[in-house]
């Protein structure tokens, strides 16, 4: 199967947040208690129970007022810092082009939270067990591996969320940017076609990426690779001598797990 991607066309988004609710419905994510904090935006941030949400950006300048709606969530990097640093292989590159998350394998170390250049994953500590788990959008991996499109794309009434073959999505995005430029959106740009080896979530933006809080030139932190290759085993030493002893095992086990999966996928 070829790589897939989600295309989010911000020029079509009405900020209705059907995607936000559909995500919770499909993934069985509970509502949190919120208050109005002087914005249409809520919940105020991504969390273990909010994997996608619309952020609202008001821009008032000499061009007048603009109100931009931006769908936040995992960008499914091809060069994903979270996968690189994940010690348990809970986060993996899926052959379909997204970053999959296996909750059962997650040990709650939180490295993914620290290293994601887009600050997407969120860690939740179970108050009873003390066990942490990381959460993020999985591109509805249970749906897309069963020939269904992600819940958010399915529900979007404005056709602002498209899903399909990655190359087709990139072409569609580029074509849309040309259309937008022709009707006066001079800042329109495709985001995600090339960033970090190409993202599994491609945006059509009508303003510079930074206006939406996106890094203009995202990088996998150099430390990530250093971390994975060199420091990671020693990192456990800091936790305790027991873990130091297990450190090697972790690395080995992880390699074994990856090799086994590579065989399955192959």
């Amino acid at each position: 199967m070829g790589k897939v991607a989600m295309l989010i066309d911000t020029s079509k988004c009405t900020g209705c947040r059907g995607c936000q609710v559909a995500c919770k419905e499909w993934n069985d994510l509970p509502a949190t208690t919120t208050t109005n904090w002087g914005s249409y935006e809520n919940p105020p941030d991504l969390s273990a129970s909010t994997w996608t949400r619309i952020s609202f950006h008001e821009v008032a300048d000499d061009r007048g007022v603009r109100w931009l709606f931006f769908k936040e969530g995992c960008l499914h990097c091809t060069e994903a810092a979270c996968v690189e640093v994940c010690p348990t292989a809970a986060l993996q590159y899926h052959e379909m082009g997204f970053v999959s998350l296996d909750e059962d394998r997650c040990n709650g170390c939180g490295y993914c939270v620290e290293f994601c250049p887009f600050q997407i994953p969120r860690l939740e500590i179970n108050p009873l067990t003390g066990q942490g788990k990381a959460y993020k959008c999985t591109l509805c991996q249970d749906r897309v591996t069963n020939d269904l499109i992600p819940a958010c794309a399915k529900t979007c009434p404005a056709n602002a969320i498209q899903f399909g073959d990655r190359e087709a999505m990139v072409t569609m995005a580029q074509k849309r940017v040309e259309e937008l430029k022709a009707i006066g959106y001079t800042n329109a740009v495709v985001y995600g076609d090339k960033e970090l080896g190409g993202l599994g979530r491609i945006y059509v933006l009508t303003e510079r990426p930074s206006v939406y809080g996106l890094p203009e030139n995202p990088q996998v932190p150099a430390l990530t690779r250093l971390w994975q290759k060199g420091i990671q085993p020693f990192g456990y030493a800091a936790v305790g001598l027991t873990l130091l002893g297990l450190g090697f095992n972790w690395v080995v086990q992880r390699r074994v797990a990856r090799a086994a999966e590579a065989e399955e996928e192959g």
């Binding site: 020029s11 079509k12 009405t14 900020g15 209705c16 947040r17 059907g18 936000q20 609710v21 919770k24 419905e25 509970p30 509502a31 949190t32 208690t33 919120t34 208050t35 109005n36 904090w37 002087g38 914005s39 249409y40 809520n42 919940p43 008001e58 008032a60 007048g64 007022v65 603009r66 109100w67 931009l68 709606f69 009434p157 404005a158 056709n159 259309e179 009707i183 006066g184």
Partner: protein, 795 residues
């Protein structure tokens, strides 16, 4: 809608005014965006910069309640610059008709006004006619008595400076909107107007919509693809309930309710059936008697006979105003003792809702049929009342939701679509049909066994649905129309056998041989239930999808479509998007179902009017043949255009709770609206945690300027107070709201969504405790959209 949702994609310019379509009709935006892809320009006109404005090419702010000034200025612009569609205006509208020389207009009043009755004598609002009663015309439009010249004089006063001083819209923005929209006056170009409650919920709401109609007629935008006057209805089946006589002044299919003077069926038919001697006028309402008699036969069957006027005397005579406000005024006076509420929640949705909640205390009994215990059902235990002091007996019947029952729904585009039941109702919840059937059966038994003042209409009603859940398709067949005997054509051939469904309303008769519950709704024919059709192939090329569901009337997707073609040749004005076109070889129309199938140049296109022409000059409304700007009932400024401050013809109520606020105490303009995350009075959405999470609390939107003046910061709790009540909400301070420069003064406006109440998992004050108990002069729809308030930081 004259057109339909998908047709929006065919527009060259889209003006969304009095509507926040992106927020309240998200699905429409798909088609708006499709139009923009093809080069269309989107204009958003709104007091605040909304989610719709966010998508627009041009945003025009206007002060709430000044739509007529805004559109009047556009009409003036079109006339002054001769940008109207000249052939269309001359041939298809009444612009060329000569008006009675006694007609006049002075100081904001049309001729015939009686200030004591607050009513017009409309006799001078009429055409000059020849001996046959056919209106006199001047096709050159030069005669000073033509509608066209009256129109020009009327709107000449709406110059850019005056309009900008009234609306607060900057002049350069007005000019940009005007020149953009007026470009659709070129033959072959189409502009559409999408509107909703922002237009209608004013004391002159009907005239707001009339102003759109006049504009669209001048530009030749009615009947064409991508054009029209498009009312975005507030719920999935509002159009259906309107068609089926939700409103008190009509019967199904817009037949008229009898008045006291209609002592016989003949008298009624004589009064309401229009006549014309113009051979080119189709005058479709001449068929009224067929539809009325067929309705009476559907309702009373064998008890409706020629001898008893088909039971016409069973129909209640419309002797009073039974609109929403009037009902609650009567309830407040103690004149109404029992109240059945289904599909609404007036304790949240009604204007001046403190008064309406108080009025319900005078009821002996209240039945609420709903999915949840709504604020209306719980009015007796609302905050700040002592339940022991309220004697009303309240019954709450759990209702099935729309996914738990079967039936038809009619969308804004008049498409009737069958909706299937998805799941069984939860617990004891029952379908509306089941509940109404049980009530009716018990009532009928009571009248049959105990008699009463007039039991016949109830005892003799056709009501044979058994004791369980009525069959929705049986009702669909009754609505659609059935032959009661063999129907024959002029040659005596049987065209419909007794017991069969009629093909459409052309087969209905006025002799009692047909029964039809709504002449417009012939969707269940001998071919079956056409509302179930799901053909996704568009053969029209303009998105008509004629074999998807069924559309009233006669599956015509764009009404008045005979106006989309040249009057003589039958060639479409817009050759890229032809709705219909005349095929001279085949001698028939190709495309949509035409408004009359005769060849070009044989009939006038506006077949529902006896004169066959669309009315730029309106004859029938309560408050004038042309829309005129007045201020809302509560306004901080004098009317700049005349000495007549308010619409002179709406009813002013006078109970002790009908307070009016003055600008010295309440200087800030307020409006109410909905948001995407919540539905109407909120029962359906304030009980859903995900939606509550997304939009948890009542908020008050205001400009940074007002916030600064009042010492309010974003996120502060604020109190909004009017003469009628106050609410507390979270301040949402945003540059999307700007103060208006109105005639040299800076005026502030705020906005409050009206979804909250004291029940459900998200509670909050109801914005409608703020709104006044006054309504439109024609429809009585409340003035929710413009009133006066003050705002302060909550302590």
């Amino acid at each position: 809608m004259t057109n339909h949702w998908i047709d929006i994609k065919n527009a060259d310019v889209i003006m969304i005014i009095g509507s926040n379509a992106a927020e309240n009709h998200p699905i429409s935006i798909k088609w708006v965006e499709e139009a923009r892809r093809n080069g269309a320009v989107l204009i958003s006109v709104d007091p605040r910069f909304t989610r719709t404005s966010a998508l627009a090419d041009i945003y025009a702010p206007l002060r709430s309640g000044t739509d007529i000034a805004f559109i009047g200025g556009l009409i003036n612009y079109v006339l002054e610059n001769e940008l109207y569609h000249k052939e269309y205006v001359a041939e298809y509208t009444n612009a060329s008709f000569l008006i009675n020389p006694d007609f006049g207009f002075e100081n904001g009043l049309f001729v015939g006004y009686d200030p004591n009755k607050r009513k017009y004598d409309k006799s001078a609002w009429s055409y000059q006619t020849d001996a046959d009663g056919i209106p006199l015309e001047d096709k050159t439009l030069q005669d000073p008595n033509t509608v066209f010249q009256h129109l020009k004089r009327h709107y000449a006063r709406y110059d850019l400076d005056t309009v900008s001083a009234i609306t607060g819209t900057p002049k350069e923005v007005l000019e940009k909107v005007y020149s953009t929209y007026a470009s659709t006056g070129q033959p072959g170009k189409a502009g559409t107007i999408m509107y909703a409650m922002g237009a209608t919920q004013h004391t002159y709401g009907t005239q707001n919509v009339r102003s759109y109609a006049i504009l669209q007629l001048l530009l030749g935008n009615i009947g064409v693809a991508g054009g029209g006057i498009n009312a975005l209805r507030g719920l999935h089946n509002v159009q259906g309930s309107t068609d089926m006589c939700l409103l008190f002044h009509i019967l199904p299919g817009y037949l008229k309710t009898p008045i006291e003077a209609d002592e016989t069926l003949a008298a009624h038919l004589e009064r309401v059936t229009p006549r014309t001697n113009d051979p080119k006028s189709v005058n479709w309402w001449k068929n009224y008697p067929k539809y009325m008699v067929s309705l009476l036969k559907a309702w009373w069957g064998d008890a409706a006979t020629p001898e008893n006027d088909f039971a016409f005397h069973y129909l209640p005579r419309n002797s009073a105003n039974y609109s929403h406000i009037a009902l609650f005024e009567a309830m407040y006076r103690g004149d109404i003792k029992g109240f059945i509420v289904l599909g609404q929640n007036p304790a949240v949705g009604g204007p001046n809702s403190n008064m309406e909640r108080k009025a319900m205390e005078n009821l002996d009994w209240l039945v609420v049929i709903d999915l949840w215990e709504t604020e209306t059902a719980a009015f007796w235990k609302r905050p700040d009342v002592d339940p022991a002091s309220i004697q009303t007996e309240v019954f709450l019947l759990p209702a099935a939701s729309y996914v738990e029952r079967e039936g038809s729904v009619t969308n804004s585009g008049r498409w009737i679509q069958w909706r299937y039941k998805a799941v069984d109702p939860i617990g004891d919840a029952k379908e509306d049909l089941w509940i109404v059937n049980q009530i009716m059966r018990r009532l009928r038994d009571l009248y049959a066994t105990q008699g009463g003042a007039f039991p016949d209409p109830i005892v003799n009603l056709t009501w044979d649905y058994g004791d369980g859940l009525p069959d929705a398709e049986q009702i669909a067949r009754e609505i659609s129309g059935t032959a009661l005997v063999d129907l024959k054509d002029k040659e005596g051939n049987v065209i419909v056998k007794a017991g069969q469904q009629v093909k459409n309303f052309t087969q209905l008769r006025d002799d009692g041989s047909t029964a039809c519950g709504n002449w417009l709704y012939n969707y269940y024919t001998q071919e079956g239930n056409l509302a179930k059709r799901r053909d996704t192939v568009d053969r029209s090329g303009i998105g008509l999808y004629s074999n998807w569901g069924w559309c009233w009337p006669v599956n015509r997707r764009i009404i008045y479509n005979r106006a989309s073609v040249h009057p003589v040749t039958g060639e479409p004005w817009d050759k890229e998007h032809p709705v219909i076109r005349w095929d001279p070889v085949a001698k028939k129309w190709i495309g949509d179902v035409p408004d009359g199938g005769t060849p070009p140049n044989t009939i006038h296109p506006f077949i529902m009017k006896p004169e066959g022409h669309a009315r730029i000059f309106g004859l029938g409304l309560a408050d004038g043949p042309f829309p005129e700007h007045y201020e809302p009932w509560e306004s901080p400024v004098p009317n700049l255009l005349s000495g007549t401050q308010n619409n002179p013809a709406f009813k002013i109520w006078a109970s002790e709770m009908d307070y009016k606020g003055e600008a010295d105490k309440y200087p800030i303009i307020a409006t109410t609206y909905r948001i995407t995350e919540h539905m109407q009075a909120g029962a359906m959405t304030r009980n859903l945690p995900w939606l509550v999470e997304a939009m948890p609390e009542l908020f008050v939107e205001m400009s940074p300027e007002l916030a600064e003046e009042k010492g309010i910061r974003n996120g502060d709790k604020v109190v909004v107070e009017t003469a009628r009540g106050s609410v507390t909400g979270v301040a949402l301070v945003t540059p999307r709201f700007r103060p208006f420069q109105v005639n040299g003064r800076m005026l502030h406006q705020i906005g409050v969504p009206w979804h909250w109440g004291y029940m459900g998992i998200s509670t909050g004050d109801s914005a409608n405790v703020l709104t006044p108990h006054v309504g439109d002069a024609n429809t009585m729809i409340p003035e929710f959209k413009a009133f006066l308030c003050d705002v302060r930081k909550a302590v």
